[in-house]
């Protein structure tokens, strides 16, 4: 019998028992839908975290001031005042360092026309966009001259500009920070990312200006260091450690008053955790797929039993074992594949709902779709072969006299 005829046979058979067909497919639908939904949510979370981490800057080392120590009491992280602007300048002269962005930050009230907002004001230098991977959307960034001359100029983060109702025309206009007038010279491109501590909600002013007007000290909280290439990360990290230990008179092996955070380490840790999460979720969901497959096998076995006489008739009128085998196998395959396709639609719908309701990012890649389809086909074959071969092996005499 031709394959197209066998397919027609399977489809018409499944069409005559719609309720049973639907219930049998339900197991596969639930299995595939949960694989698709869980994996896409997990991958969405992963890519969200990764892009957030990458948006902090690539090849980034962050030198943070340590806690101040007075007597036996260690102060809060960043409370030490030993990390200074001069340290940053010294680091910038090391080989392999592409840029250095010291940060002095404070919280301040920013007023533009009738809008006002309390936000993070960061004093920094011209390397800041390079180090932290920002793009300039409008205008220009702080230059060396603005630092040298303590100019009162500001560059706004995208969210801040939005909140203050400042657009393209805002370049060249004035805002006030804690009452001091500043001229807006640029607006940054949005990085995205939402929630707590958005990277787009900040105002950048020259480091020297920030020190004079708001902070009044030469120490900085942190220094971002952009390394020229990923290979040099380790070398540069140890060079900075040696350099700062020398400058701060700390013996090698002594307690440092600074820490160096490595972006790439954080990234690889996060991605391995989220890969584990994805595999785990997919594994749990796969169990329901297998249960669905057993459901198909169960129904196919019942079906072979019920249709024993039909099988006998088919054999009497010329069906070979192969024809009967394929007839039942194709039925199982159609069941599992149709269940798989419906499951994908349901799974995508569920993921989109989760994304909308919980505000989580979701990600679909072709694999998320292709793997469950192939998997459900495999399930159809694995769990369909046994009932089908039972049907094919039936003795026509016995089958014909089966009541």
């Amino acid at each position: 019998m031709k394959l197209s005829d066998l397919l027609g046979l399977a489809l018409s058979r499944l069409g005559t028992g719609k309720l049973r067909t639907a219930l049998t497919m339900l197991g596969i639908i639930i299995g595939v839908a949960s694989v698709v939904a869980l994996v896409s949510v997990a991958q969405g979370a992963t890519s969200g975290i990764n892009s957030r981490l990458e948006s902090l800057g690539t090849n980034l080392l962050t030198v943070n001031a340590g806690g101040s120590v007075s007597g036996a009491t260690r102060g809060a992280f960043g409370s030490a005042t030993t990390l200074t602007l001069d340290d940053a300048t010294a680091i910038s002269k090391l080989a392999g360092v592409a840029g250095v962005a010291p940060e002095l930050s404070t919280s301040a009230l920013v007023v533009a026309g009738s809008e006002n907002e309390t936000t993070t004001v960061i004093g920094t230098g011209p390397d800041y966009p390079l180090v932290f991977a920002y793009e300039i959307w409008q205008g220009s960034f702080l230059n060396q001259a603005s630092l040298d001359n303590d100019l009162r100029v500001a560059v706004l983060g995208a969210t801040t500009a939005d909140d203050l109702d400042l657009g393209v025309s805002a370049i060249g206009t004035d805002i006030t920070i804690e009452g001091y007038p500043f001229r807006v010279i640029g607006i940054l491109q949005a990085k995205g990312g939402t929630g707590f501590q958005s990277p787009d909600d900040e105002v950048l002013i020259p480091l020297s200006t920030a020190r004079t007007l708001f902070v009044g000290t030469t120490s900085v909280r942190s220094v971002g260091v952009s390394v020229a290439s990923a290979k040099q990360m380790e070398t540069v990290k140890s060079e900075i450690t040696t350099l700062l230990e020398q400058r701060h008179d700390i013996a090698t092996g002594g307690t440092d008053d600074f820490t160096i955070a490595d972006q790439s380490q954080l990234l690889s840790t996060t991605s391995s955790v989220s890969t584990l999460l994805t595999v785990l979720l997919a594994g749990i969901a796969s169990i329901s797929l297998i249960v669905g497959g057993i459901g198909i096998m169960n129904i196919m076995l019942v079906s072979v039993r019920e249709r024993t006489r039909e099988i006998g008739i088919r054999k009497a009128i010329g069906a070979r074992g192969r024809d009967v085998l394929l007839q039942f196998l194709i039925e199982a395959l159609v069941l599992s594949l149709a269940g798989g396709l419906v499951g994908i639609v349901v799974g995508v719908a569920i993921s989109v709902m989760i994304a909308l309701l919980a505000g989580w990012a979701i990600a679909f890649n072709p694999l998320t779709i292709a793997v469950p389809v192939i998997f459900s086909l495999l399930i159809g074959i694995v769990f369909g072969v046994w009932p089908a071969s039972q049907a094919a092996r039936l003795d026509p005499v016995v089958a014909l006299s089966y009541e």
Binding site: M1, K2, S4, D5, T16, R309, E310, G312, I313, R314, K315, A316, I317, G318, A319, R320, G321, R322, D323, P396, V397, L400
Partner: protein, 240 residues
């Protein structure tokens, strides 16, 4: 046990013919259940020439069903030789047997054995599908066969929507659609009222007149009487 050992020459079942459609030589079929050994056919010799209309008569338990299964290539003899339409059956595997059934035999069953939830047209087209005939051609041939048997108006009806006589005519159409060398009918009138039964018998006469070879298996001497030739089967042995 009445073992009638007639001299071979006087046995019309062994009448020599040229190119016979069925040749059984010393065919036995023994069921071995492990505890009991049941001989269903014992040393059967039978030759059926082309164009013959033969009735095999026997009470239930006589080995008549086994005879039908062996003749129909649904079962193999335990020993002996069976040549159907020039092909020695005992040398064939299951698939080759299925191909031989498909090519050479048309079955007509007592309980019709139509495929459930399948239209008359598709029932008749099914044997052609197993021969690999394309959809268009088998529809044309099945439709023509149903037309010839007066069921041209019932093409889309499923078995449950047809009377017994109509179902049996669909069954006969299905048996004939492949133009088989042998029409093998097992109690074809057994489930029919006398009117419908007579119609089926008339149909068999027509087919025989048209040159078909028919083997009719029945327990009913009145039905067997319509055949040209009758042989009796009892306790697995045949006699005239």
């Amino acid at each position: 046990m009445s073992a009638l050992a007639l001299p071979e020459t006087s046995n019309p079942a062994l009448a020599p013919t040229e190119d016979p459609i069925i040749v059984l030589q010393e065919v036995s079929r023994v069921y071995d259940t492990g505890r009991v050994v049941v001989p269903a056919l014992v040393g059967v010799d039978l030759t059926v020439p082309r164009g013959d209309f033969l009735a095999i008569i026997g009470p239930s338990g006589s080995g008549k069903s086994t005879m039908m299964h062996v003749l129909g290539c649904l079962d193999r003899p335990t020993s002996g030789r069976y040549v159907l339409d020039g092909t020695p059956v005992d040398e064939l595997d299951d698939d080759a047997l299925a191909a031989l059934r498909s090519r050479s035999i048309g079955f007509v069953f007592q309980s019709y054995n139509l495929l459930p939830r399948t239209s008359a047209l598709e029932n008749v087209a099914a044997p052609l599908a197993y021969q690999g005939v394309g959809h268009r051609e088998r529809t044309v041939r099945a439709k023509a066969m149903l037309d010839r048997l007066g069921l041209g108006e019932r093409l889309d009806h499923e078995p449950t929507e047809l009377s017994g006589g109509q179902q049996q005519r669909v069954g006969i159409a299905r048996a004939l659609v492949t133009e088989p060398a042998l029409l093998l009918a097992d109690e074809p009138t057994g489930n029919l009222d006398s009117h419908a039964g007579a119609e089926v018998i008339d149909l068999f006469h027509e087919l025989h007149d048209a040159g078909r070879t028919i083997v009719l298996i029945t327990h009913d001497p009145d039905v067997a009487a319509v055949a040209d030739r009758q042989i009796h089967i009892r306790d697995g042995r045949i006699s005239v």
